[in-house]
Symmetry: C2
């Protein structure tokens, strides 16, 4: 069995409010065909891939946002994507807003195998932003209004011959995300993001700073867990709101092996050798020899900052 | 009360086996005088600052290494350093090998206030390397032979008008290190290191890669906890074994504000505004709003890698 997974990081350019899911799925299929032509066997699309990044839009009545959510998956609009993936023998991952039968709302990603079967689901745990309209911000980021925090943890799946995990957007900034998967031996973390180019609470933090933090987070998570990281943007100008690009693939040594330099639809393909994770996992990050959990207690005991312990 | 702490990161060039502690202390005092002249009020020296990096030398009988350890602190050899710090009103931190009255061995750092009083002690938790002689390595790294893992956790102290923490060398690669201190509100982490320029188990990993991992670890730890990080090297060629430099100061945004570009004795001085930590701590890394400890359980439940949880 080969340990090479040839991944296509499939960046999406902007999706306007007025764009239909069908039009987006057509773009995703076009990217999948490009990925297939370049030898990819696994394609990764961004967070909330089917719609505009709607959490920037405030609704007093939250139910008015429900039309951005999917009540089934595959849905009628995404069935052609599943059909195409199955026809091409392409595994895939993408994000969408999930409305459960019992009325819960999540920011979700799925893993779909080459037969079109959904074999893994992740619901975003680190929701950024805020619940109520915030006049102090240059733009709204209402993920805490429209979604509940994920309730599935960070499982790692046997998938495509390796150990695969998922994260979404803001999760990538939190070392706990990667570590929980690292402790399951993860070899590749795939994640999508929608990241505004300017900090809504600090206008002088612009795209270069935001890109720096993005890379720093993905690279350190990869290095410190000896895993591949595939991070995929939805980029460009959505109805006057700009999101950065920066779709990239990081190797288990923390090095960026490729990055997309535009903000349109496009793919980045890389043959990722999962065996490249072994050296780090068996030496400097051989957790069983080096971790000292007896001193990590605060990480799960405290949610927020508490008193300093030095006396 | 001012929230500026003017720090001097005081890099030491090589210390040979034959060099006396008195000769090293004289070098440390010279750096302290330079730091004072440049307006610093707090000087940080490297890990195991008083001696060569002795864990590279194997002794069948471990007790033969005891002469590298300090049984008291201040010791006769370091008393002049404490006296000078008190005379200059300079706070300081440095590392040394600690032998306790009851026979335990630790890789230790201390915080010393402006009156010369030891107010904080940290014992290195993440010991790298190995216990027994390893013929497969290009050089030995016997920290697990000569030291026990630290038993004091990572306390944070009120110090110099801010919240101060310590780490040592390999600790900086572990996100748990910074997070445990971040959960105590740490505003500055000081750490020293002795990092061989070549990976003993992978000869093609050379100084550029090692420096990359060093910076990546310090920068991500700073950013993800919105804290200053001051990392200080012992550098250069010790009896034919080369350690990298890379003494640097990272701001709470993850940016390197200064770095020493040589491998000799030298200082890097920066006026660190502890209030620069506030923005990150109150927004994207406002732990109490964003952390989800109910999903972090594996971090303390598992030491090493266990079974994947995806089904």
């Amino acid at each position: 069995m080969s340990r090479i997974v040839t991944v296509a990081a499939a960046q999406l350019g902007p999706i306007q409010k007025a764009d239909s899911r069908e039009s987006v799925v057509a773009r995703m299929i076009a990217l999948m065909e490009q990925a297939k032509a370049k030898g990819a066997t696994f394609i990764v699309y961004p967070e909330l891939a089917l719609t505009t990044f709607f959490p920037r839009w405030y609704h007093e009545n939250r139910a008015e946002a429900d039309h951005w959510f999917e009540a089934t998956m595959p849905s009628p609009a995404t069935q052609p994507l599943f059909d195409k993936a199955k026809a091409l023998g392409m595994a895939m991952s993408f994000g969408y807003a999930e409305l459960t039968p019992d009325g819960h709302h999540f920011n979700t990603s799925i893993l779909v195998d080459k037969t079109g079967k959904i074999v893994g689901k992740y619901r975003k745990i680190h929701l950024p932003g805020h619940v109520d309209y915030d006049t102090s911000r240059s733009h709204q980021h209402l993920e805490k209004r429209y979604f509940e925090p994920g309730d599935l943890g960070w499982p790692v799946w046997e998938f495509e011959g390796g150990l695969m995990g998922m994260a979404i957007c803001n999760d990538r900034r939190w070392p706990e995300t990667y570590r929980v998967m690292g402790l399951q031996g993860v070899e590749m973390v795939v994640l999508g993001f929608n990241t505004p180019s300017v900090n809504a609470q600090r206008g002088d933090e612009k795209i270069e700073d935001r890109m720096f933090h993005h890379r720093l987070s993905c690279q350190s998570g990869a290095y410190q867990n000896a895993t591949w990281v595939v991070a995929v943007a939805k980029a460009g100008d959505e109805d006057g709101h700009h999101c950065m690009g920066g779709t990239l693939i990081v190797d288990p040594n923390g090095k960026i092996v490729g990055e997309i330099d535009h903000e349109d639809d496009g793919i980045l393909v890389h043959a990722c050798d999962l065996d490249a994770t072994i050296f780090g996992k068996e030496t400097i990050f051989d957790f069983k020899r080096h971790r000292r959990v007896e001193h990590y207690g605060l990480i799960t005991e405290r949610v927020g900052v508490g008193a300093p312990l030095g006396k």
